[in-house]
Amino acid sequence: MSKPFLTLYCLIIYAFLLAPIAVVVIASFNSGAFLTFPPQGFSFRWYVVFFNNEVFMRAIRTSLWIAAVTMVISGIIGTMAAMFHVQYAGRLKEAVRVAMLAPLLLPEVLTAIALLFFVYSVGIGTQTMFGMIVGHVLITLPFVFINVSASMESYDPSWSMAAQSLGAGRFTRFRRIMLPLIKPGVIGGCLFAFIISFDIFTISFMLKGVGMSTLPIQLFDYLRTNFTPEAAAVSTCSIVLTMAVVIISEKVLGLRIHRF
Protein backbone atom coordinates (compact mmCIF):
# COMPACT_ATOMS: atom_id res chain seq x y z
CA MET A 1 0.00 0.00 0.00
CA SER A 2 1.32 3.44 -0.82
CA LYS A 3 2.21 5.69 2.07
CA PRO A 4 -0.37 8.48 1.62
CA PHE A 5 -3.12 5.90 1.28
CA LEU A 6 -1.95 4.12 4.41
CA THR A 7 -1.90 7.40 6.32
CA LEU A 8 -5.42 8.17 5.20
CA TYR A 9 -6.54 4.68 6.17
CA CYS A 10 -5.10 5.10 9.66
CA LEU A 11 -6.76 8.48 10.04
CA ILE A 12 -10.13 7.01 9.15
CA ILE A 13 -9.70 4.18 11.65
CA TYR A 14 -8.75 6.65 14.37
CA ALA A 15 -11.69 8.86 13.52
CA PHE A 16 -13.98 5.84 13.71
CA LEU A 17 -12.60 4.86 17.12
CA LEU A 18 -12.42 8.31 18.63
CA ALA A 19 -15.48 10.03 17.16
CA PRO A 20 -17.94 8.61 19.73
CA ILE A 21 -15.69 9.80 22.55
CA ALA A 22 -15.42 13.24 20.97
CA VAL A 23 -19.20 13.37 20.63
CA VAL A 24 -19.64 12.55 24.32
CA VAL A 25 -17.10 15.17 25.38
CA ILE A 26 -18.67 17.85 23.17
CA ALA A 27 -22.19 16.93 24.28
CA SER A 28 -21.18 17.34 27.93
CA PHE A 29 -20.75 21.06 27.39
CA ASN A 30 -24.32 21.36 26.17
CA SER A 31 -26.28 24.19 27.74
CA GLY A 32 -29.64 22.66 26.77
CA ALA A 33 -31.66 20.28 28.91
CA PHE A 34 -31.35 17.21 26.69
CA LEU A 35 -28.52 15.04 25.48
CA THR A 36 -28.36 16.14 21.84
CA PHE A 37 -25.73 16.52 19.20
CA PRO A 38 -24.72 19.02 18.00
CA PRO A 39 -25.09 20.74 21.37
CA GLN A 40 -27.15 23.85 21.91
CA GLY A 41 -24.79 26.46 23.29
CA PHE A 42 -21.76 26.03 25.56
CA SER A 43 -21.83 25.80 29.35
CA PHE A 44 -20.36 23.99 32.35
CA ARG A 45 -23.87 23.72 33.72
CA TRP A 46 -24.03 19.94 33.70
CA TYR A 47 -20.62 19.58 35.36
CA VAL A 48 -21.90 21.69 38.22
CA VAL A 49 -24.97 19.48 38.45
CA PHE A 50 -22.81 16.37 38.36
CA PHE A 51 -20.35 17.56 41.04
CA ASN A 52 -23.27 18.43 43.28
CA ASN A 53 -24.92 15.07 42.72
CA GLU A 54 -24.04 13.14 45.87
CA VAL A 55 -25.19 9.84 44.34
CA PHE A 56 -22.74 10.10 41.46
CA MET A 57 -19.95 11.29 43.72
CA ARG A 58 -20.42 8.31 46.01
CA ALA A 59 -20.45 5.97 43.01
CA ILE A 60 -17.18 7.46 41.73
CA ARG A 61 -15.55 7.05 45.14
CA THR A 62 -16.72 3.44 45.31
CA SER A 63 -15.41 2.74 41.80
CA LEU A 64 -12.02 4.29 42.53
CA TRP A 65 -11.73 2.39 45.77
CA ILE A 66 -12.62 -0.94 44.15
CA ALA A 67 -10.28 -0.27 41.24
CA ALA A 68 -7.42 0.49 43.63
CA VAL A 69 -7.97 -2.62 45.75
CA THR A 70 -8.41 -4.74 42.61
CA MET A 71 -5.21 -3.34 41.11
CA VAL A 72 -3.15 -4.21 44.21
CA ILE A 73 -4.55 -7.74 44.55
CA SER A 74 -4.39 -8.47 40.82
CA GLY A 75 -0.91 -6.96 40.64
CA ILE A 76 0.43 -9.23 43.37
CA ILE A 77 -1.28 -12.46 42.26
CA GLY A 78 -0.68 -11.79 38.55
CA THR A 79 3.02 -11.05 39.04
CA MET A 80 3.53 -14.17 41.12
CA ALA A 81 1.67 -16.25 38.53
CA ALA A 82 3.79 -14.79 35.72
CA MET A 83 7.00 -15.57 37.63
CA PHE A 84 5.89 -19.13 38.11
CA HIS A 85 4.75 -19.38 34.49
CA VAL A 86 8.04 -18.22 32.98
CA GLN A 87 10.59 -19.62 35.45
CA TYR A 88 9.21 -22.72 37.08
CA ALA A 89 6.20 -24.11 35.21
CA GLY A 90 8.33 -26.23 32.86
CA ARG A 91 6.13 -28.66 30.97
CA LEU A 92 3.03 -27.08 32.50
CA LYS A 93 3.85 -23.70 30.98
CA GLU A 94 1.16 -23.76 28.29
CA ALA A 95 -1.44 -25.20 30.69
CA VAL A 96 -0.74 -22.46 33.23
CA ARG A 97 -1.10 -19.80 30.53
CA VAL A 98 -4.44 -21.11 29.33
CA ALA A 99 -5.74 -21.38 32.90
CA MET A 100 -4.66 -17.82 33.67
CA LEU A 101 -6.30 -16.46 30.53
CA ALA A 102 -9.54 -18.41 31.02
CA PRO A 103 -11.44 -15.46 32.55
CA LEU A 104 -10.92 -13.62 29.26
CA LEU A 105 -12.44 -16.46 27.27
CA LEU A 106 -15.54 -16.93 29.41
CA PRO A 107 -18.41 -14.49 28.95
CA GLU A 108 -18.31 -12.06 31.85
CA VAL A 109 -21.93 -12.75 32.68
CA LEU A 110 -21.18 -16.45 33.26
CA THR A 111 -18.36 -15.61 35.63
CA ALA A 112 -20.69 -13.17 37.39
CA ILE A 113 -23.52 -15.68 37.82
CA ALA A 114 -21.15 -18.40 38.96
CA LEU A 115 -19.64 -16.07 41.53
CA LEU A 116 -23.05 -14.95 42.70
CA PHE A 117 -24.11 -18.54 43.36
CA PHE A 118 -20.78 -19.17 45.03
CA VAL A 119 -20.83 -16.24 47.45
CA TYR A 120 -24.35 -17.11 48.55
CA SER A 121 -23.78 -20.83 48.89
CA VAL A 122 -20.72 -20.31 51.10
CA GLY A 123 -22.58 -17.70 53.11
CA ILE A 124 -20.51 -14.65 52.24
CA GLY A 125 -23.34 -12.95 50.39
CA THR A 126 -23.16 -9.48 48.89
CA GLN A 127 -23.39 -7.39 52.05
CA THR A 128 -19.65 -6.74 51.79
CA MET A 129 -17.62 -5.92 48.71
CA PHE A 130 -15.77 -9.22 48.95
CA GLY A 131 -17.58 -10.97 46.10
CA MET A 132 -17.38 -7.94 43.84
CA ILE A 133 -13.64 -7.54 44.40
CA VAL A 134 -13.06 -11.26 43.74
CA GLY A 135 -14.93 -10.80 40.46
CA HIS A 136 -12.91 -7.74 39.48
CA VAL A 137 -9.66 -9.52 40.31
CA LEU A 138 -10.72 -12.48 38.15
CA ILE A 139 -11.41 -10.26 35.17
CA THR A 140 -8.27 -8.11 35.51
CA LEU A 141 -5.82 -10.87 36.43
CA PRO A 142 -5.12 -11.95 32.81
CA PHE A 143 -4.03 -8.42 31.91
CA VAL A 144 -1.48 -8.30 34.70
CA PHE A 145 -0.38 -11.84 33.85
CA ILE A 146 0.13 -11.10 30.14
CA ASN A 147 2.07 -7.90 30.77
CA VAL A 148 4.33 -9.30 33.47
CA SER A 149 4.92 -12.55 31.53
CA ALA A 150 6.03 -10.51 28.53
CA SER A 151 8.65 -8.66 30.55
CA MET A 152 9.64 -11.87 32.37
CA GLU A 153 10.49 -13.48 29.04
CA SER A 154 13.37 -11.06 28.60
CA TYR A 155 14.53 -11.59 32.19
CA ASP A 156 17.69 -13.70 32.28
CA PRO A 157 17.56 -16.16 35.21
CA SER A 158 21.34 -15.89 35.52
CA TRP A 159 20.81 -12.39 36.96
CA SER A 160 19.10 -13.98 39.94
CA MET A 161 21.82 -16.61 40.13
CA ALA A 162 24.53 -13.94 40.10
CA ALA A 163 22.77 -12.04 42.88
CA GLN A 164 22.48 -15.26 44.86
CA SER A 165 26.18 -16.02 44.44
CA LEU A 166 26.89 -12.54 45.78
CA GLY A 167 24.97 -13.34 48.94
CA ALA A 168 21.44 -12.11 48.25
CA GLY A 169 18.56 -14.08 49.76
CA ARG A 170 15.27 -14.79 47.98
CA PHE A 171 13.53 -11.57 48.97
CA THR A 172 16.50 -9.31 48.22
CA ARG A 173 16.92 -10.92 44.81
CA PHE A 174 13.31 -10.13 43.99
CA ARG A 175 13.35 -6.59 45.33
CA ARG A 176 16.74 -5.43 44.07
CA ILE A 177 17.12 -7.37 40.82
CA MET A 178 13.96 -8.90 39.38
CA LEU A 179 11.38 -6.28 40.30
CA PRO A 180 13.28 -3.31 38.85
CA LEU A 181 13.86 -5.24 35.63
CA ILE A 182 10.26 -6.37 35.13
CA LYS A 183 8.85 -3.06 36.40
CA PRO A 184 7.45 -1.87 33.05
CA GLY A 185 5.37 -5.04 32.79
CA VAL A 186 4.18 -4.86 36.39
CA ILE A 187 3.16 -1.21 36.19
CA GLY A 188 1.58 -1.65 32.76
CA GLY A 189 -0.39 -4.64 34.05
CA CYS A 190 -1.50 -2.78 37.17
CA LEU A 191 -2.71 0.16 35.08
CA PHE A 192 -4.73 -2.17 32.90
CA ALA A 193 -6.20 -3.74 36.03
CA PHE A 194 -7.15 -0.33 37.41
CA ILE A 195 -8.73 0.98 34.22
CA ILE A 196 -10.58 -2.23 33.41
CA SER A 197 -11.88 -2.58 36.95
CA PHE A 198 -13.12 1.02 36.81
CA ASP A 199 -15.12 0.10 33.72
CA ILE A 200 -16.56 -3.31 34.70
CA PHE A 201 -20.36 -3.39 34.59
CA THR A 202 -21.75 -6.95 34.53
CA ILE A 203 -19.77 -8.33 37.48
CA SER A 204 -20.44 -5.23 39.58
CA PHE A 205 -24.13 -5.30 38.72
CA MET A 206 -24.54 -8.94 39.76
CA LEU A 207 -22.42 -8.82 42.89
CA LYS A 208 -23.21 -5.42 44.33
CA GLY A 209 -24.94 -5.19 47.68
CA VAL A 210 -28.22 -3.45 48.16
CA GLY A 211 -27.76 0.31 47.87
CA MET A 212 -24.18 -0.06 46.66
CA SER A 213 -23.28 1.42 43.32
CA THR A 214 -20.28 1.88 41.06
CA LEU A 215 -20.01 4.57 38.42
CA PRO A 216 -21.01 2.41 35.40
CA ILE A 217 -24.02 1.06 37.32
CA GLN A 218 -25.06 4.50 38.49
CA LEU A 219 -24.76 5.84 34.96
CA PHE A 220 -26.87 3.02 33.59
CA ASP A 221 -29.42 3.60 36.31
CA TYR A 222 -29.50 7.29 35.58
CA LEU A 223 -29.94 6.88 31.81
CA ARG A 224 -32.95 4.63 32.31
CA THR A 225 -34.97 7.59 33.60
CA ASN A 226 -33.07 10.68 32.49
CA PHE A 227 -31.62 11.90 29.25
CA THR A 228 -29.73 15.04 30.26
CA PRO A 229 -26.18 16.04 29.31
CA GLU A 230 -25.21 15.21 32.90
CA ALA A 231 -24.56 11.66 31.67
CA ALA A 232 -22.10 13.05 29.12
CA ALA A 233 -20.41 15.07 31.85
CA VAL A 234 -20.05 11.93 33.98
CA SER A 235 -18.61 10.02 31.02
CA THR A 236 -16.18 12.80 30.19
CA CYS A 237 -14.97 12.91 33.76
CA SER A 238 -14.37 9.18 33.83
CA ILE A 239 -12.43 9.39 30.53
CA VAL A 240 -10.28 12.21 31.92
CA LEU A 241 -9.75 10.28 35.14
CA THR A 242 -8.49 7.12 33.40
CA MET A 243 -6.29 9.12 31.06
CA ALA A 244 -4.88 11.01 34.02
CA VAL A 245 -3.97 7.74 35.73
CA VAL A 246 -2.05 6.58 32.64
CA ILE A 247 -0.27 9.87 32.02
CA ILE A 248 0.68 10.47 35.64
CA SER A 249 2.02 6.92 35.99
CA GLU A 250 4.02 7.37 32.83
CA LYS A 251 5.56 10.61 34.08
CA VAL A 252 6.13 9.56 37.66
CA LEU A 253 7.26 5.99 37.14
CA GLY A 254 9.04 6.41 33.82
CA LEU A 255 6.87 3.75 32.31
CA ARG A 256 7.32 2.50 28.79
CA ILE A 257 4.11 0.91 27.62
CA HIS A 258 4.81 -1.31 24.64
CA ARG A 259 1.39 -2.69 23.91
CA PHE A 260 -1.42 -0.27 24.01
Binding site: W159, M161, A162, Q164, S165, L166, G167, L181
Partner: protein, 346 residues
Protein backbone atom coordinates in the same frame (compact mmCIF):
# COMPACT_ATOMS: atom_id res chain seq x y z
CA UNK B 1 42.81 -18.96 50.95
CA UNK B 2 40.73 -22.04 50.90
CA UNK B 3 41.39 -25.66 50.24
CA UNK B 4 38.55 -27.44 48.47
CA UNK B 5 37.97 -31.13 48.71
CA UNK B 6 35.39 -32.92 46.62
CA UNK B 7 34.62 -36.42 47.77
CA UNK B 8 32.64 -39.01 45.82
CA UNK B 9 30.40 -36.28 44.47
CA UNK B 10 27.42 -37.64 42.51
CA UNK B 11 24.52 -36.04 40.71
CA UNK B 12 21.70 -38.16 39.39
CA UNK B 13 18.73 -36.53 37.64
CA UNK B 14 16.99 -39.88 37.52
CA UNK B 15 18.41 -41.21 34.26
CA UNK B 16 21.72 -42.47 35.55
CA UNK B 17 24.41 -40.29 37.10
CA UNK B 18 25.38 -37.08 35.28
CA UNK B 19 28.31 -36.83 37.65
CA UNK B 20 29.54 -40.14 38.96
CA UNK B 21 31.35 -40.27 42.31
CA UNK B 22 34.14 -37.87 41.44
CA UNK B 23 36.81 -36.86 43.93
CA UNK B 24 39.17 -33.91 43.53
CA UNK B 25 41.44 -32.24 46.06
CA UNK B 26 42.14 -28.61 45.22
CA UNK B 27 45.02 -26.97 47.05
CA UNK B 28 44.94 -23.41 48.42
CA UNK B 29 45.34 -20.93 45.60
CA UNK B 30 45.33 -23.60 42.94
CA UNK B 31 43.82 -23.03 39.49
CA UNK B 32 41.94 -26.13 38.41
CA UNK B 33 40.14 -26.59 35.09
CA UNK B 34 37.32 -28.99 34.47
CA UNK B 35 37.74 -29.95 30.83
CA UNK B 36 35.50 -32.13 28.70
CA UNK B 37 32.98 -32.23 25.88
CA UNK B 38 29.47 -30.89 26.47
CA UNK B 39 27.42 -33.21 28.64
CA UNK B 40 30.46 -34.61 30.45
CA UNK B 41 29.27 -33.26 33.81
CA UNK B 42 31.77 -30.41 34.22
CA UNK B 43 29.14 -27.67 34.46
CA UNK B 44 27.00 -29.78 36.80
CA UNK B 45 30.04 -30.25 39.01
CA UNK B 46 30.67 -26.49 39.07
CA UNK B 47 27.01 -25.83 39.89
CA UNK B 48 27.23 -28.28 42.78
CA UNK B 49 30.34 -26.53 44.11
CA UNK B 50 28.48 -23.20 43.80
CA UNK B 51 25.32 -24.68 45.33
CA UNK B 52 22.97 -24.13 42.37
CA UNK B 53 22.56 -27.91 42.11
CA UNK B 54 22.09 -30.23 45.05
CA UNK B 55 24.51 -33.11 45.27
CA UNK B 56 22.79 -36.50 45.16
CA UNK B 57 25.65 -37.94 47.16
CA UNK B 58 29.09 -37.02 48.36
CA UNK B 59 30.74 -34.08 50.07
CA UNK B 60 32.19 -30.71 49.11
CA UNK B 61 34.49 -29.35 51.77
CA UNK B 62 35.81 -25.82 52.00
CA UNK B 63 38.75 -26.02 54.45
CA UNK B 64 37.39 -29.22 55.88
CA UNK B 65 33.77 -28.23 56.52
CA UNK B 66 31.09 -29.77 54.33
CA UNK B 67 29.10 -27.10 52.46
CA UNK B 68 26.66 -29.42 50.67
CA UNK B 69 23.77 -28.23 52.87
CA UNK B 70 24.81 -24.56 52.78
CA UNK B 71 22.68 -22.44 50.39
CA UNK B 72 24.43 -20.56 47.57
CA UNK B 73 24.05 -17.16 49.22
CA UNK B 74 25.83 -18.35 52.38
CA UNK B 75 28.56 -20.29 50.64
CA UNK B 76 30.84 -17.32 50.06
CA UNK B 77 31.73 -18.01 46.44
CA UNK B 78 32.56 -15.69 43.58
CA UNK B 79 31.10 -16.78 40.30
CA UNK B 80 31.59 -15.59 36.73
CA UNK B 81 28.88 -16.66 34.31
CA UNK B 82 29.22 -17.45 30.63
CA UNK B 83 27.03 -14.47 29.68
CA UNK B 84 28.54 -12.38 32.54
CA UNK B 85 25.06 -11.82 34.09
CA UNK B 86 25.79 -8.19 34.94
CA UNK B 87 22.74 -6.43 36.35
CA UNK B 88 21.60 -4.29 33.40
CA UNK B 89 19.82 -1.69 35.52
CA UNK B 90 22.87 -0.91 37.62
CA UNK B 91 26.07 0.94 36.80
CA UNK B 92 29.40 -0.84 37.05
CA UNK B 93 29.84 0.67 40.52
CA UNK B 94 26.42 -0.56 41.71
CA UNK B 95 27.11 -3.99 40.25
CA UNK B 96 30.34 -4.18 42.22
CA UNK B 97 28.79 -2.76 45.37
CA UNK B 98 25.96 -5.32 45.42
CA UNK B 99 27.91 -8.19 47.00
CA UNK B 100 29.55 -5.86 49.52
CA UNK B 101 26.18 -4.42 50.54
CA UNK B 102 24.95 -7.96 51.15
CA UNK B 103 27.92 -8.34 53.50
CA UNK B 104 27.05 -5.09 55.32
CA UNK B 105 30.35 -3.44 54.42
CA UNK B 106 30.43 0.28 55.27
CA UNK B 107 29.96 2.87 52.51
CA UNK B 108 33.51 4.19 52.83
CA UNK B 109 34.98 0.72 52.60
CA UNK B 110 32.79 -0.16 49.62
CA UNK B 111 34.11 2.87 47.76
CA UNK B 112 37.67 1.95 48.61
CA UNK B 113 37.31 -1.70 47.59
CA UNK B 114 35.61 -0.81 44.32
CA UNK B 115 38.35 1.65 43.40
CA UNK B 116 40.94 -1.02 44.12
CA UNK B 117 39.25 -3.79 42.15
CA UNK B 118 38.51 -1.52 39.17
CA UNK B 119 42.17 -0.66 39.10
CA UNK B 120 43.02 -4.34 39.20
CA UNK B 121 40.86 -5.14 36.14
CA UNK B 122 42.05 -1.95 34.38
CA UNK B 123 38.63 -0.32 34.34
CA UNK B 124 39.26 2.71 36.52
CA UNK B 125 37.03 5.49 35.21
CA UNK B 126 34.26 3.14 34.09
CA UNK B 127 32.36 3.15 37.40
CA UNK B 128 29.45 5.21 36.11
CA UNK B 129 28.91 3.22 32.91
CA UNK B 130 26.04 0.81 32.43
CA UNK B 131 26.86 -2.73 31.24
CA UNK B 132 25.31 -2.07 27.82
CA UNK B 133 27.83 0.75 27.31
CA UNK B 134 30.76 -1.67 27.65
CA UNK B 135 32.40 -4.01 25.15
CA UNK B 136 32.30 -7.78 25.67
CA UNK B 137 35.83 -7.84 27.08
CA UNK B 138 35.06 -4.99 29.47
CA UNK B 139 31.85 -6.67 30.64
CA UNK B 140 33.90 -9.79 31.24
CA UNK B 141 36.33 -7.87 33.43
CA UNK B 142 33.48 -6.26 35.38
CA UNK B 143 32.05 -9.74 35.98
CA UNK B 144 35.46 -10.86 37.27
CA UNK B 145 35.75 -7.78 39.46
CA UNK B 146 32.26 -8.34 40.86
CA UNK B 147 33.14 -11.90 41.80
CA UNK B 148 36.51 -10.93 43.34
CA UNK B 149 35.57 -7.75 45.20
CA UNK B 150 33.69 -9.74 47.84
CA UNK B 151 36.91 -11.67 48.56
CA UNK B 152 35.21 -15.04 48.32
CA UNK B 153 36.66 -18.33 49.49
CA UNK B 154 36.68 -19.70 45.98
CA UNK B 155 36.34 -18.35 42.45
CA UNK B 156 34.19 -20.29 39.98
CA UNK B 157 34.21 -19.56 36.26
CA UNK B 158 31.74 -21.14 33.84
CA UNK B 159 33.14 -20.91 30.28
CA UNK B 160 33.69 -17.19 30.72
CA UNK B 161 35.52 -16.71 27.42
CA UNK B 162 33.07 -18.57 25.19
CA UNK B 163 31.37 -15.40 23.96
CA UNK B 164 34.52 -13.47 23.07
CA UNK B 165 36.27 -13.35 19.71
CA UNK B 166 39.46 -15.36 19.25
CA UNK B 167 42.01 -12.59 19.81
CA UNK B 168 40.31 -11.21 22.91
CA UNK B 169 39.93 -14.74 24.23
CA UNK B 170 43.69 -15.24 24.17
CA UNK B 171 44.29 -11.91 25.89
CA UNK B 172 41.72 -12.73 28.57
CA UNK B 173 43.33 -16.11 29.27
CA UNK B 174 46.53 -14.40 30.27
CA UNK B 175 44.65 -11.63 32.07
CA UNK B 176 42.58 -14.03 34.19
CA UNK B 177 45.57 -16.23 34.96
CA UNK B 178 47.72 -13.28 36.07
CA UNK B 179 44.90 -11.83 38.16
CA UNK B 180 44.26 -15.19 39.82
CA UNK B 181 47.96 -15.55 40.70
CA UNK B 182 48.08 -12.04 42.15
CA UNK B 183 44.96 -12.54 44.25
CA UNK B 184 45.97 -16.08 45.12
CA UNK B 185 42.40 -17.36 45.15
CA UNK B 186 41.48 -21.01 44.77
CA UNK B 187 39.84 -21.24 41.35
CA UNK B 188 37.72 -23.75 39.45
CA UNK B 189 37.38 -23.07 35.74
CA UNK B 190 35.01 -24.92 33.42
CA UNK B 191 35.79 -25.11 29.72
CA UNK B 192 35.52 -27.35 26.69
CA UNK B 193 38.51 -25.65 25.08
CA UNK B 194 41.64 -27.69 25.72
CA UNK B 195 44.04 -24.86 24.84
CA UNK B 196 42.31 -22.65 27.41
CA UNK B 197 42.54 -25.31 30.10
CA UNK B 198 46.20 -26.02 29.34
CA UNK B 199 47.45 -22.43 29.25
CA UNK B 200 45.63 -21.31 32.40
CA UNK B 201 45.59 -24.19 34.84
CA UNK B 202 47.88 -25.60 37.46
CA UNK B 203 46.06 -28.87 37.00
CA UNK B 204 43.45 -30.06 34.53
CA UNK B 205 40.61 -32.47 35.33
CA UNK B 206 39.52 -34.22 32.14
CA UNK B 207 35.96 -35.54 32.37
CA UNK B 208 33.99 -37.89 30.14
CA UNK B 209 30.48 -39.17 30.79
CA UNK B 210 30.35 -37.95 34.38
CA UNK B 211 33.63 -39.53 35.37
CA UNK B 212 37.14 -38.22 35.76
CA UNK B 213 39.34 -39.60 32.98
CA UNK B 214 42.52 -37.99 34.27
CA UNK B 215 43.75 -35.37 36.70
CA UNK B 216 47.16 -33.87 36.09
CA UNK B 217 49.28 -30.92 35.12
CA UNK B 218 48.81 -29.68 31.54
CA UNK B 219 51.98 -31.50 30.48
CA UNK B 220 50.82 -34.73 32.18
CA UNK B 221 47.57 -34.55 30.28
CA UNK B 222 49.18 -33.76 26.97
CA UNK B 223 52.31 -35.89 27.06
CA UNK B 224 51.18 -38.74 29.29
CA UNK B 225 47.44 -39.13 28.60
CA UNK B 226 45.73 -41.83 30.59
CA UNK B 227 43.62 -43.08 27.72
CA UNK B 228 42.98 -42.79 24.01
CA UNK B 229 39.99 -40.53 24.73
CA UNK B 230 42.10 -38.10 26.74
CA UNK B 231 44.89 -38.17 24.15
CA UNK B 232 42.44 -37.32 21.37
CA UNK B 233 40.55 -34.68 23.35
CA UNK B 234 43.56 -32.57 24.28
CA UNK B 235 45.05 -32.30 20.82
CA UNK B 236 45.95 -34.14 17.65
CA UNK B 237 47.51 -37.53 18.05
CA UNK B 238 48.79 -40.36 15.88
CA UNK B 239 47.89 -43.81 17.14
CA UNK B 240 50.43 -46.49 16.33
CA UNK B 241 49.51 -50.08 17.06
CA UNK B 242 51.97 -52.86 17.74
CA UNK B 243 52.68 -56.07 19.65
CA UNK B 244 54.95 -56.33 22.66
CA UNK B 245 57.87 -58.54 21.82
CA UNK B 246 60.72 -58.89 24.29
CA UNK B 247 59.94 -55.59 26.05
CA UNK B 248 59.76 -53.65 22.81
CA UNK B 249 57.10 -52.73 20.29
CA UNK B 250 58.19 -52.72 16.69
CA UNK B 251 56.83 -49.70 14.77
CA UNK B 252 57.43 -48.25 11.34
CA UNK B 253 59.67 -45.70 13.10
CA UNK B 254 61.77 -48.34 14.77
CA UNK B 255 61.70 -50.28 18.00
CA UNK B 256 60.07 -48.60 20.99
CA UNK B 257 60.94 -50.03 24.39
CA UNK B 258 57.98 -50.27 26.71
CA UNK B 259 58.32 -50.49 30.46
CA UNK B 260 56.06 -52.27 32.87
CA UNK B 261 55.04 -55.85 33.12
CA UNK B 262 53.22 -56.23 29.85
CA UNK B 263 52.68 -59.78 28.76
CA UNK B 264 54.45 -60.95 25.67
CA UNK B 265 52.26 -60.47 22.56
CA UNK B 266 49.99 -57.80 24.07
CA UNK B 267 48.50 -55.49 21.42
CA UNK B 268 49.45 -51.92 22.37
CA UNK B 269 48.39 -48.46 21.19
CA UNK B 270 51.14 -45.86 21.23
CA UNK B 271 50.35 -42.16 21.13
CA UNK B 272 52.62 -39.94 19.07
CA UNK B 273 51.98 -36.18 18.98
CA UNK B 274 52.33 -34.58 15.52
CA UNK B 275 55.00 -32.13 16.67
CA UNK B 276 57.10 -34.95 18.19
CA UNK B 277 57.98 -36.17 14.72
CA UNK B 278 60.94 -34.62 12.96
CA UNK B 279 60.79 -34.01 9.23
CA UNK B 280 63.98 -33.97 7.18
CA UNK B 281 64.75 -33.70 3.47
CA UNK B 282 65.30 -37.10 1.86
CA UNK B 283 68.92 -38.25 2.02
CA UNK B 284 69.97 -36.04 4.89
CA UNK B 285 70.25 -38.53 7.73
CA UNK B 286 68.59 -41.27 9.70
CA UNK B 287 64.86 -41.93 9.56
CA UNK B 288 62.23 -43.67 7.51
CA UNK B 289 60.87 -42.56 4.21
CA UNK B 290 57.44 -41.05 3.77
CA UNK B 291 55.54 -39.24 1.07
CA UNK B 292 53.83 -35.87 1.64
CA UNK B 293 50.14 -36.25 0.81
CA UNK B 294 49.04 -32.75 1.66
CA UNK B 295 50.06 -29.81 3.78
CA UNK B 296 48.22 -27.00 5.56
CA UNK B 297 50.06 -23.79 6.29
CA UNK B 298 48.87 -21.77 9.30
CA UNK B 299 51.59 -19.15 9.69
CA UNK B 300 53.66 -20.33 12.59
CA UNK B 301 53.23 -24.01 11.78
CA UNK B 302 52.62 -26.38 8.89
CA UNK B 303 50.50 -29.51 9.23
CA UNK B 304 51.54 -32.36 6.95
CA UNK B 305 49.66 -35.53 6.10
CA UNK B 306 52.24 -38.20 5.35
CA UNK B 307 52.09 -41.75 4.10
CA UNK B 308 54.76 -44.14 5.33
CA UNK B 309 56.16 -46.84 3.10
CA UNK B 310 54.04 -49.49 4.83
CA UNK B 311 50.94 -47.47 3.91
CA UNK B 312 50.32 -46.04 7.41
CA UNK B 313 49.29 -42.38 7.58
CA UNK B 314 50.71 -39.95 10.11
CA UNK B 315 50.10 -36.32 10.85
CA UNK B 316 53.16 -34.21 11.47
CA UNK B 317 53.42 -30.64 12.63
CA UNK B 318 56.57 -28.71 11.77
CA UNK B 319 57.92 -25.20 11.65
CA UNK B 320 57.69 -23.74 8.17
CA UNK B 321 61.45 -23.04 8.04
CA UNK B 322 61.80 -25.84 5.52
CA UNK B 323 58.73 -26.42 3.38
CA UNK B 324 58.00 -29.69 1.65
CA UNK B 325 55.86 -29.90 -1.43
CA UNK B 326 52.94 -32.27 -1.84
CA UNK B 327 54.16 -35.56 -3.29
CA UNK B 328 57.73 -35.00 -2.08
CA UNK B 329 59.64 -37.84 -0.45
CA UNK B 330 60.86 -36.93 3.02
CA UNK B 331 62.57 -38.55 5.98
CA UNK B 332 60.68 -38.82 9.24
CA UNK B 333 62.21 -39.50 12.61
CA UNK B 334 60.46 -40.02 15.93
CA UNK B 335 62.56 -40.60 19.06
CA UNK B 336 61.47 -43.64 21.05
CA UNK B 337 60.82 -41.57 24.19
CA UNK B 338 58.13 -39.55 22.38
CA UNK B 339 55.86 -42.59 22.08
CA UNK B 340 53.43 -42.94 24.97
CA UNK B 341 51.73 -46.28 25.57
CA UNK B 342 47.96 -45.92 26.01
CA UNK B 343 47.42 -49.43 27.25
CA UNK B 344 46.36 -52.67 25.72
CA UNK B 345 43.84 -52.58 22.89
CA UNK B 346 40.61 -54.28 23.65
Amino acid sequence: MTEVSIEKLTKDYGQGPAVNAISIKIAEGEFISLLGPSGCGKTTTLKMIAGFEDATEGAIRFDGSDVVRVPVEKRDIGMVFQNYALFPHMTVEKNLAFGLEMRKVSRAQIREKIAKVLDMVQLAGYAERYPRQLSGGQQQRVALARALVIEPKILLLDEPLANLDAKLREEMRVFIRDLQRRVGITTVYVTHDQAEAMTMSDRVVVMFGGRIAQIGTPSDIYERPASLEVAEFVGQVNIIRGKVNGGIVATAFGDVPVSGNLAEGTELMLALRPEAVELLPAGSGAGVFAKVLSSYYSGSLVDYRLELENGARVNVQAFPRTRFADGERVLVHAPAERFWPLGATA
